[in-house]
Amino acid sequence: MGGRDTDIVLLDENGIRCDGRKVNETRKVTIKAGVLKNANGSAYIEFGDNKILVGVYGPRDVHPKHMSDTDTGILRCRYHMAPFSVGERKNPAPSRREVEISKVIKEALEPAVMLKEFPRTAVDVYMEVLQADGGTRCAALTGASVALADAGIPMRDLVAGCAAGKAADAVILDVNNEEDQAGQADLPIGYMPNLKKITLLQLDGILTPEEYKQCIEIGIDGCNQVYEIQKKALQDKFFANGEKQ
């Protein structure tokens, strides 16, 4: 095995990326809703080589009490990477990066969830990254919104996540770990497909205005593809052996 290959070809002359995808192709996404018995809602998502488990609790009592809000429910998110999720063991204590991702995911979900209906309560979302391969924040966000729907938390829309970026001077969809490390830019997007609204937008790297516009466009396209898979996960759980369709 050995160390990282630094001479990796991110994009070959045929427009094929290092993992065999085309520039506007997402990795394979599979989602399963309702995988945990003890959580109120849950989801397991595989986004390429990312593997993330999400559990949702609530609405439930807020502890500590002083955090509760008499006007609305509150949303609390924890994004955590397991020690074995990356090549070198990761210290399980929450890192600066994890605290940041927890915060942006919380803010990406907040426009969708309708917590005004449950004042004085909290909804807790726990995202556990079992295996990481670039783009975990989008994958965790995608899984979290399926788990929230599974828990029956009222939502205006599902939130789908997908990143766009730039590697080897080309605009690409769904940036993987190699492209993130060796590429030029990474632009994660959280998107509500029915309301057509962006809830998460970050940019790491440099893009020209044209490239930026292009990234947003294909990123939203990617989110729409992810949304179809989210939809299918929920339909499989709730309406699989049903009738009335």
Binding site: N40, A112, P119, A151, I153, P154, L158, N194, N241, G242
Partner: protein
């Protein structure tokens, strides 16, 4: 416009657009009425609602619930009613208006862990729901088997005008107290009947989305009665 067919919906899905009222579990966004929950859409008499397939119990005035006493202060008990809000049972509800915290022993009437059948008196989300145990069929539950099902499946268990639950009760010789919060107490003198009633309830919980559930349950109840 009369009622349309029920459709499976997920959060964010557009149910209809047009001159409808957005009711239970729906919101209006511009022209469209969208679902906020996984469930079955129901367009009826100019209004749209979604019957939820998942989610917890939210207390409603006049609901019969089954609760478990978790603690008490000098003036009231608190009961876990399988919801995000706890039920408040005032001591005066049990001891009468001349209740005095110094002379009456609250634990003598209801101790921690006791089960009660209660009714929601008042609830508006700004305070915890007020419950009462004075009334017919209410009060402390002394015997029976506690069964927990999803609160969304309670209407299915009851059936149209109570048809389903009556069928279970009569064919297994048991009594079922149904709390709207998804907690049930099944009691019977006949242990076989008790087991069968619980099995039937579990079957309904599993197969709640199937159309000819009544026939299935009937079949199940009859097949094992031999």
């Amino acid at each position: 416009m009369s009622s349309e067919r029920k459709r499976h919906v997920i959060p964010g899905e557009v149910i209809t657009s047009g001159p409808y009222r957005a009711e239970q579990n729906t919101v209006q966004v511009g022209e469209n009425i969208i679902s906020t929950i996984v469930g079955l859409s129901d367009v009826h008499d100019g209004s749209v609602r979604v019957i939820p397939l998942t989610g917890g119990y939210v207390p409603k005035d006049d609901d019969l619930v089954i609760g478990k006493i978790i603690s008490h202060s000098s003036l009231s008990w608190t009961a876990d009613i399988n919801s995000c809000y706890v039920g408040m049972l005032p001591a005066s509800d049990v001891f009468g208006r001349d209740y005095s915290s110094s002379s009456d022993d609250m634990t003598a009437k209801l101790a921690k862990g006791d089960l009660i059948a209660a009714r929601i008196v008042n609830f508006d989300k700004t305070r915890d729901p007020l419950i009462t145990i004075s009334g017919r069929e209410l009060g402390k539950i002394d015997s029976g088997e506690l069964v927990k099902i999803s609160p969304n499946k309670v209407p299915r268990l009851i059936g149209k005008r109570g048809s389903m639950i009556q069928m279970i009760e009569s064919s297994t010789n048991s009594q079922v107290t149904i709390g709207q919060n998804g907690l049930l107490v099944v009691s019977s003198d006949d242990p076989h009947g008790l087991l069968k009633a619980i099995q039937a309830i579990e079957l309904i919980e599993e197969q709640a989305h199937v159309a000819n559930l009544t026939d299935q349950v009937k079949e199940m109840l009859e097949s094992k009665s031999e």
